[in-house]
């Protein structure tokens, strides 16, 4: 065998290999999510929900690359660049935090990539900054807070004390609550992001003469607040979005959360076949109950699978139309996108209950029906 034919053989094998790779993975998706550090529980839930849907779908020709952003915007940006340039992904997904989403999403969609958000829904990407290639499968950030405000009206609260961390999503939260709530405010507080001691705030709540408390303190901040609030002896009703009451943290709050009302677009008792199967298989696969984040990851994957079955990602217009059709069985029941590619959906009122040793939520009503976000009107999609 001559050198020339050896080289030719090598070339042929190389191209054959590439051909095989092309034929096998017809769509590559890059997941950038938080898997270490504080807040890793959310990313892990999204990833597990997403991968469960992938596993159930079998061989869809979708290849998933997962990377950990450590909740740091700079790392998320590096990962996105790497995924777009060297991994050549077609679709990005996975980001939990709004500040990371703002750093990654506009650049990715500008490069013609699709982005499916399984969690963060900053207002800047829902209104004027919307993009045809950006789809949010979870909610616009304000939605759950608006629902809490709507619930406060039906519960006849007249004088709420409201608090949230001093950062963009915290300000959106209070704005969202006030948009729907029609009573008066006995106090409005911004806490430090990552604050763990709420003694000073609780003392102010006690002195304020409020008849109810609305708070948005996601993750560990909510655990601290609820434990300290329960110990303070104040028994005003508390309402908040689901982020302080998700399945991942309820066990850490314990009895202090019992009976607290919170708002969510999903719960494990939403009555449809997809949801029942999701809750059961998730528990079997991972040995824990799914959270709303897991349901969002699961829905995101199923949306992607449905679109990939209809259209080739190479034909961006057809793929976009297939995503927009949202032709998949959601854990939330009916699912549709508005003109800004954010969901139009029911937001439910849940109450924390105890089932055996496990603290969990049950739906007690609907706060807002077929609710779309207020920013949709500014979107020129």
């Amino acid at each position: 065998m001559t050198l020339k034919s050896l080289a030719l053989a090598a070339c042929l094998t190389a191209t054959a290999g590439m051909g095989f790779a092309d034929g096998h993975a017809k769509l590559k998706v890059g997941m950038i999510t938080t898997l270490s550090g504080g807040g890793a529980g959310l990313g892990i839930d999204v990833r597990d929900g997403f991968m469960l849907a992938m596993k159930q779908a079998g061989d869809t020709g979708i290849e998933v690359v997962i990377e950990d952003d450590q909740r740091k915007p700079d790392i998320a940006v590096q990962l996105a660049d790497k995924m777009i340039q060297s991994e050549k992904v077609d679709v990005l997904t996975g980001i939990i935090w709004s500040n990371l989403a703002m750093a990654v999403v506009p650049a990715a969609t500008a490069q013609g990539k699709f982005y499916l958000s399984p969690n963060a829904g900053p207002s800047a990407l829902a209104g004027k900054g919307c993009h045809p290639n950006y789809f949010n499968v979870a909610w616009q950030n304000d939605n759950l807070h608006e629902a809490a405000g709507a619930y406060a009206n039906t519960a006849d609260y007249k004088n709420s004390f409201i608090l949230a961390p001093n950062y963009p999503a915290g300000k959106d939260a209070l704005t969202g609550y006030k948009r729907q709530y029609s009573g008066a405010l006995s106090g409005e507080l911004f806490t430090k992001l990552g604050q763990t001691d709420y003694a000073a705030e609780i003392a102010q709540i006690r002195a304020s003469g409020a008849d109810s408390v609305f708070f948005f303190l996601p993750g560990g901040m909510g655990i601290s607040f609820l434990k300290q609030y329960a110990d303070s002896g104040i028994d005003l009703p508390v309402v908040g979005p689901a982020f302080s009451f998700d399945q991942g943290i309820l066990q850490a709050v314990g009895p202090a959360a019992l009976g607290v009302v919170n708002t969510s677009q999903w719960n494990k008792d939403i009555d449809n076949a997809t949801n029942a199967a999701f809750v059961e298989t998730f528990q079997a696969e991972y040995g824990r109950l799914p959270s709303l984040y897991a349901s969002q990851g699961f829905d995101t994957a199923n949306l992607l699978i449905s679109a990939a079955a209809k259209a080739d990602v190479g034909d961006a217009d057809a793929f976009r139309a297939a995503l927009k059709a949202a032709d998949f069985a959601s854990t939330r029941g009916d699912f549709a996108f508005g003109n800004n590619n954010h969901p139009i959906q029911n937001i439910y009122v849940r109450e924390v209950i105890q089932e055996g040793d496990i603290f969990t939520n049950k739906i007690i009503g609907t706060a807002l029906e077929n609710h779309a976000d207020v920013y949709a009107a500014d979107c020129a999609n």
Binding site: T196, G220, S232
Partner: protein
Amino acid sequence: MSLILLAEQLLNGLQLGVMLFLMAAGLTLVFGVMGLINLAHGSLYMIGAFAAAAVAGVTGSFVLALAAALCAAAAAGALVEILIIRRLYHRDHLDQVLATFALILIFSEGTRWIFGSFPLFLNIPTYLSGPVTLPGGIQYPLYRLTLIAIGLAIAGGLFLLISRTRLGIQIRAGENDREMIAALGVDISKLYTIVFALGAALAGLAGALVGAIQSVQVGMGEPVLILAFVVIVIGGIGSIKGALIGAILVGLTDTMGGVLLPALFKTFMEPSTAASAGSALASMLIYILMACVLIIRPTGLFGAKA
């Protein structure tokens, strides 16, 4: 603003202060005696909280949980000192920062590996839960009062330890001249291990005590560590008295600033803007305090002359 609210906030500030003191005491001792910057001190706080949550989960006893926190943190501290820190005393501060920062990452991911990514449950025991009514009609949680008492008792104990015991004499001597006390026949490496383990145990105890009213999760130590560094810079590095005064100053400034500034801003601003601007400025207050102290006394309030 009512007097009752003000008094309650003073207690809150004091409570935050004494818990910060438990963290800062170990940090300042280690820095003063061994000249070591230990960034991994926050990890020891986390280890204490996790050990307490694990033991409380199995036994249901809060006292056993606290004992476990003390032991686990002291053991982790001694182990780290013997295996790693001992090799760093003669290196410069940058190497120490690098190595102890690596320890933070190792401890954090190790804890996640053992306990998972979701926060653990650790609650106040029933006999300490609920509020009590203090003179003047102040409703105040009993647990927080207990924290103040424990913190002050430990401060007193540490003061006696440093001023009245042989170990205390050795620690003070070690701060002044470590070559000389080694020459006098004191086993300096044993002394270092003891001091490090003592500091670690205090951090672990703080983690367990505070973990019961906060969230026991990976990475819980780092925000406290930053405050503890502010405390020892204000108090003067190496001084236990400075750590106590500094901690209470920081606790009061942080709490009262967070309450009074937004209230002050509300007198001339629209409520929503006042809340936001007030809390933004309040979160800077302790650093402003630190800067002011450093301008007036560059070595801190009770720091030895540089």
